[in-house]
């Protein structure tokens, strides 16, 4: 059954919500300003609710099962977060209300800034960036502003390991830098000798994901930081993989200068089918003045009788505003709730269980799936989805076949440096039982690859739709619903 579009469901004259009559004397709207027609569908509330409920049934989601997308940290999204963010005092506050009416919001933001600083070992945090990629943009613009402030205008290169997320090079070029790649060694670390040769007086900094996208902790991390610092560059940490490090080690302590957080990965705010995220940025002491703002401060200290008053401040040499208002406040409430529920002893457990789960799942399948770099992994690992004796089978086929087992596939074809990569991140919220189920499915699929490769090539078989014609989508480029003639 194909679900009709909202235009196909439309029936002229229907309306899903009634509005009150106008209770004031009316003014004529100048005719030359009025639009001719609004080609919108007409639906009842029942039509709308059923349509979107039926659509929801076509989705896989964390609420339905394991969703081990590498580098995406698809952990369970606690319902308490949702309830907290929907409290009327938060949900219905206007961003420009008088400061004395929003002290509850500001207290949450202030404490979240403080907690993120403590978790990461940084001296300052701005909550404003909307998502990880925007946090990166902030980080690279801070790098630029820092060098420019020192009159050091030659630094036009950002070094990026070949295992990095695509957002790193895209961000660097958006910020006016040239991208220089540094290779990865056979142990899965940054090639430190190559890095030494690349670093000079034109190096603005390095963007380092740690653990990297192979799921490995950078064994030379202190040396990498040292080499870049000695050349006068800054070290940017991509915080996408912070889940592995919560309470275990603080990037600020390792010498990182800047890092973005993904509240929608590490701190359990939902991914929402592609956002909203939230990508706060933390910086070391020498960079706090460059943070985007406004950020929340204590404007009047409290005492035993009076609570402190919170306000906003713009950092002195701020790179400016990166977004309207203060960022994704609703996501901050959720992350605040999550951190408060874990506390100082619970956060390290998150990282421990995440790493335990990844290593356990790896131990169950590594005799069948080739491991690109055979080390203890952190929160995720990368295997190769191919075998020499069945050359027709690719990582994509394994991914599609997993859907027939009612499981979400891992990230595939990333990182780019691993042939036929399957990047698996189970997260800490999966039980041993669900990991066993996932391992069993992967092992059965490996058997099927040999005994019945066609069943993989033609997978998935039991999903709402089968493999799609992506070439047709790009060639014909239909980006809007077909509208019936009467529109």
């Amino acid at each position: 059954m194909v679900e009709p579009t909202i235009y196909e469901l439309s029936s002229p004259g229907r309306q899903g919500v009634r509005l009150p009559e106008c209770d004031v004397p009316t003014t004529e709207l100048p005719a030359e300003l009025v639009r001719n027609d609004l080609p919108f569908p007409e639906l009842s509330e029942v039509d709308v609710v059923r349509h979107f409920t039926r659509l929801s049934h076509l989705n896989y989601a964390i609420d339905l099962g394991m969703y081990p997308l590498g580098s995406c940290t698809m952990k369970y999204n606690p319902r308490v977060n949702e309830e907290a963010a929907r409290l009327p005092g938060f949900l219905h506050s206007h961003p420009l209300q008088p400061i004395e009416t929003i002290q509850g919001n500001l207290e949450i933001m202030f404490l979240l800034q403080e907690w993120l600083k403590e978790i990461s070992g940084f001296a300052g945090v701005s909550l404003q960036p909307a998502a990880g990629a925007q946090g990166e943009l902030v980080g690279v613009l801070i790098t630029r502003a820092y060098h420019n402030m020192r009159g050091d205008y030659k630094r036009n290169k950002i070094i990026i390991p070949d295992s990095a997320h695509g957002t790193n090079p895209a961000t660097s070029s958006m910020s006016g830098f040239d991208v220089i790649n540094v290779s990865t060694t056979s142990e899965g670390n940054v090639d430190i000798d190559a890095l030494r040769l690349l670093c000079d007086e034109t190096t603005a900094g390095i963007m380092l994901t740690n653990p990297n996208t192979l799921g490995l902790f950078e064994q030379n991390v202190l040396e990498v930081v040292d080499v870049v610092h000695k050349a006068g560059g800054l070290v940017y940490g991509d915080g996408a993989n912070l889940n592995a490090l919560l309470g275990i080690v603080r990037p600020g302590d390792l010498g990182f200068d800047i890092m973005h957080f993904n509240l929608h990965k590490t701190f359990s705010t939902p991914h929402g089918g592609g956002g909203p995220g939230c990508g706060p940025v933390g910086v070391a002491n020498h960079l706090t003045a460059f943070l985007p703002g406004p950020i929340v401060c204590i404007s009047e200290e409290g005492n035993n009788e009076i609570p402190p008053q919170f306000g906003f401040v713009m950092p002195e040499y701020s790179i400016g505003r990166i977004k309207s208002f203060y960022g994704h406040f609703g996501m901050m409430v959720r992350a605040f709730t999550y951190i408060a529920m874990h506390g100082k002893n619970g956060l390290p457990k998150v990282a421990e269980y995440a790493v335990l789960n990844a290593n356990y799942l790896l131990s169950k399948i590594k005799h069948v799936y080739k491991l690109a770099y055979d080390r203890i992994c952190m929160h995720e690992f990368v295997v190769q989805g191919c075998w020499e004796n069945v050359p027709e089978i690719r990582a994509l086929d394994i991914a599609k076949r997993l859907m027939d087992y009612n499981l979400h596939p891992p990230t595939n074809y990333f990182p780019l440096i691993v042939h036929e990569a399957l990047m698996i991140e189970p997260t800490e919220t999966e039980s041993k039982q669900s990991l066993d189920m996932y391992a069993d499915a992967l092992l059965r699929i490996a058997e099927e690859a040999k005994s019945n490769p066609e069943i993989l090539k033609s997978a998935p078989h039991h999903t709402p739709v089968r493999r799609l014609d992506e070439v047709k989508a790009a060639r014909d480029l239909v980006l809007c619903c077909w509208q019936p003639d009467n529109f």
């Binding site: 509005l19 009150p20 004031v24 003014t27 300003l33 009025v34 639009r35 001719n36 609004l38 569908p41 509330e45 709308v48 989705n59 989601a61 409290l87 005092g89 219905h92 206007h94 420009l96 509850g104 919001n105 403590e118 990880g132 990629a133 943009l137 690279v140 695509g166 070029s173 603080r250 302590d253 991914h271 929402g272 592609g274 956002g275 939230c278 400016g320 505003r321 990166i322 977004k323 309207s324 208002f325 994704h328 406040f329 609703g330 529920m341 874990h342 506390g343 335990l356 290593n359 356990y360 203890i376 039980s431 041993k432 739709v465 089968r466 799609l468 790009a474 239909v478 980006l479 619903c481």
Partner: protein, 451 residues
């Protein structure tokens, strides 16, 4: 804690891995930095944290317990219950970006329908799957124009009556672009009351983009056709930042010939939520589709010939093109786009017109009443939609402090952004403001200034 591990399971798992303890898994981390002591509170239970959050939420005032005449980029509109019921379905909010289309058709079809509705609303050919908010969508329009001319046109003209925060975000986004100039608003110091047609002489062969707002930050409506014509004569693009509710009754940017329409989607069924998460919409002409940043959902068929949807033209995006991508955007505002889609479907052709008309009528009623109060006058004679500027007899912050005592959130103090606009208040009126509330505001203003 949401990890389900029991002690015996942990032991079995460690055995399978071949290590003795969990700490053995962290040997790659430099010893001296491992397990720092964290200065954080102790863990709270769900019961305890909800009591704490209740307390914090109640220490705010909000548009639920106060009468609101504040807009300036975020608006208090009615949100039908079905909107939040749909976006709170776990199948939607706990899903990832739909990279695996076979098991993401719900998200994909909803985005496809969102793209269709935004295209219809703005009068443009195509829409992307969303940006972070109106400000960043505007910045992406500037960057798209820059790339459209391969960096050969270095001037972007910003109307001074664009939302000041949007202009700030554009300046932040473009600071890495060399030989690129933002003109028209004198680094933010130009008088926003300037007529937008004064920008025309700035348009030349070096202009990549003219960026306008509609209604503008002061609420005014202009027919931009002649500016668009002038810009096109010089080969420049025009982007119009628009309020989506206003487009329920006003000509859409497409009618004026705009090349790009962007805006803040919050008025379309999204809660105020202290400024976010909101929704940036971005629509453009078909011939610019390959220059657009962000995700696009396209229609296709599956192996059985069944209609289906998939992310398309991904070769523009960062995960494929890396440093040559059109933008670094990855995660966007999927769930907010869904909320706005449900909202637009519920209101439909007639409902959105009705909401827009209610906003227009109530704002005009309020403006007439305030204009008749001694000492107050509506500052501009230009047509407006649901926001207007009032010249007050005393500083806006003083008035607002007293309005607050009477349970009213007053309008926006324009002096914060424009030092020249002393005593100027930007008032927003929506369908949520009853006639009684408007009367209450007028009485309060009268009392404050003559009490």
């Amino acid at each position: 804690m949401f990890a389900p591990h029991t002690q015996s399971e942990i032991e079995e798992m460690l055995k399978s891995i071949g290590v003795k303890s969990v700490s053995d898994l962290f040997v790659d981390i430099p010893d001296r930095y491992r397990y720092p002591s964290l200065n954080l509170p102790d863990a709270m239970t769900e019961m305890e944290i909800m009591a704490e959050m209740d307390y914090l939420a109640q220490s705010n005032d909000s548009t639920k317990n106060l009468v609101c005449f504040l807009g300036a980029g975020a608006y208090n509109h009615f949100i039908p219950a079905a909107v939040n019921a749909i976006i709170q379905r776990g199948e939607f909010f706990t899903a990832y970006t739909p990279y695996q289309p076979e098991i993401s058709q719900g998200t994909l079809q909803a985005i496809f329908e969102y793209q269709s509705l935004i295209s219809s609303l703005t009068g443009m050919d195509i829409s992307n799957a969303s940006h972070y908010d109106g400000a960043t969508a505007s910045a992406e329009a500037v960057i798209m124009a820059y790339h459209n001319f391969r960096g050969k046109r270095s001037k972007v003209i910003l109307s001074p009556s664009i939302h000041p925060q949007y202009r700030q975000v554009i300046r932040t986004y473009t600071q890495g672009y060399n030989n690129f100039y933002l003109v028209g608003d004198h680094d933010g110091t130009a008088d926003p009351f300037n007529n937008p047609f004064d920008l025309v002489p700035l348009i030349d062969q070096n202009t990549a983009l003219v960026l306008l707002q509609y209604p503008d930050f002061l609420g005014r409506i202009f027919d931009f056709s002649s500016i668009v014509t002038k810009a096109h004569e010089s080969g420049a693009l025009v982007a119009i930042i628009c309020n989506p509710i206003a487009l329920g009754i006003l000509h859409p940017p497409g009618d004026y010939g705009a090349d790009i329409a962007v805006g803040e989607g919050q008025p379309l069924g999204l809660s105020l939520s202290f400024g976010g998460p909101y929704l940036g919409f971005f629509a453009t002409k078909r011939e610019l589709v390959r220059k657009i940043s962000g995700r696009l959902v396209g229609e296709t068929i599956d192996n059985d010939g069944k209609r289906a949807y998939v992310l398309t033209l991904t070769a523009r995006e960062q995960h494929i093109r890396r440093e040559k991508a059109t933008s670094n955007i990855c995660t966007n505002q999927g769930l907010m786009a869904l909320a706005s889609t449900v909202y637009m479907c519920l209101l439909g052709k007639q409902g959105l017109k009705q909401v827009a008309n209610l906003c227009f009528q109530k704002a005009h009623f309020a403006a007439q009443k305030i204009n008749s109060l001694p000492g107050f006058s509506v500052c501009s004679s230009a047509p407006f939609f649901n926001e207007f500027v009032v010249c007050c007899p005393q500083p806006v912050d003083e008035i607002n402090a007293q309005l607050l005592e009477k349970g009213i959130i007053g309008g926006y103090n324009l002096e914060k952004d424009f030092p020249g606009l002393k005593n100027n208040m930007l008032i927003a009126v929506t369908e949520m403001n009853s006639r009684e509330e408007i009367d209450l505001l007028c009485h309060a203003l009268e009392e404050i200034t003559h009490g």
